[in-house]
Amino acid sequence: MAVDPLIEMRDVNKHYGKLHVLKDINLTVGRGEVVVVIGPSGSGKSTLCRAINRLEPVESGTILLDGHPLPDEGRELAKLRAEVGMVFQSFNLFAHKTVLANVSLAPVKVRKRSREEADRRSRELLERVGLLAHADKYPAQLSGGQQQRVAIARALAMEPKALLFDEPTSALDPEMINEVLEVMQQLARDGMTMVVVTHEMGFARSAANRVVFMADGRIVEDRAPEEFFTAPRSERAKDFLSKILKH
């Protein structure tokens, strides 16, 4: 369906010891598409997300980013990773640097921009996520939701072609989830290519172009959100949805 594929995974397999966590994964994400990956815990959805920028190396199959196969560890891989931003469950802001320095670090060191230019751009991004006032604070001084929005700004500062979200709201208080989701909604509307692993069904319904349902290391369903939520085809998905949508 995707006319212009940006991320392609073909027959990807991965084991953790005996555990087969990714089984023959085939997934294509088109440019500008928002794909939400859902599924029970242990289904391999986080691993799938982390495999896209090779934080988890895979054993077989190919992963293509914008037509280029993912290279092995080294400078080439670093170059490709710079094109794909990642937002983590535990934020992972650099604890020893201020908010502004967190956002500016990679543009200066990886993109070789001047510090002034990088800081100017970082301030724009912090403004966009509503945190410009906190630019000189350290991550530990911010709430979880604020930290996660800084993490999104930090990923955006590299002007990535795509963004990967690995359960971005799972470590947040319910009150703070919305402020992060709003930023993500805005990114989706702006046409950013996104792969989002999440348990936020509301976000999946409203922002996703496609929902990918994973269970036991396999992609079980890959469909438009409205179809998936109203009429899931597989038993596994019906079971999953009945459990999470009940209460």
Binding site: G74, R81, A82, N92, F94, A151
Partner: protein, 214 residues
């Protein structure tokens, strides 16, 4: 009691020798220690092996044996250097193994997510280590590195047995001159205290300045 006043210049030379050995060997140990720690966490297998072998061999060799190996062994291969330099090499390499392990334990205190975030932004292994991981690891390795350098200062006494001028070696001369053994050693001990307490003080300052706030 007048051992010190009578032999001030002898003590002074000895103390200076110990300070020189300590400072030069510490610098060498710190540089090699950080380098080896980087090797041991590198994504390149051969570097990891090199770092592991370096630490295993040096940490498990008695220092005296290492001195023999360097001072008697290297000249056989045509490497002839002043004894003091040999002593710095032996002490520095030996201590670097312990520094390496202290730094590595510090690296392990930094959450893996920090490194993952850096890599996901396109940083190379070297950038990830030097910009993100080591600055945070540094804070928690200040105390163990301080202890290791104090041990180095005391280990430098072994160099005295290999005709390098240092503090402990002064006792031989003093003994021959007929001074009281007890008072000779008391002043030698004071000399070592000056060196080791200075190191402690420096590391206390470092810890106050850079240590992890809890």
């Amino acid at each position: 009691m007048n051992v010190l006043t009578d032999n001030f210049s002898l003590y002074g030379k000895g103390l200076l020798g110990t300070v020189e050995l300590t400072v030069y060997a510490s610098l060498l140990a710190l540089v090699l220690g950080f380098l080896m720690a980087s090797f041991r966490v590198a994504p390149v297998g051969s570097l990891r092996v090199f770092g592991t072998v370096w630490v295993t061999v040096l940490r498990n060799t008695p220092l005296t044996l290492l001195f023999f190996a360097v001072l008697l062994g290297l000249p056989r291969f045509g490497v002839v250097l002043p004894f003091q330099l040999f002593a710095v090499l032996a002490l520095g390499c030996y201590t670097s193994a312990f520094i390496c392990e202290a730094v590595r334990s510090g690296i392990n205190t930094v959450p893996t997510g920090q490194g993952e975030a850096a890599r996901s932004l396109g940083m190379t292994f070297g950038q990830t280590l030097s910009l993100v991981v080591l600055p945070q690891a540094f804070r928690s390795v200040i105390p163990p590195v301080g202890s290791t350098l104090i041990a180095l200062a005391k280990n430098s006494a072994i160099a005295g047995s290999f005709s390098v001028t240092e503090l402990l070696g002064t006792y031989k001369t003093l003994n021959e001159l007929g001074y009281s053994v007890v008072w000779s050693f008391v002043w030698i001990a004071v000399g070592y205290l000056i060196v080791t307490l200075t190191i402690s003080a420096v590391f206390n300052v470092l810890e106050k300045r850079w240590g992890v706030p809890r």
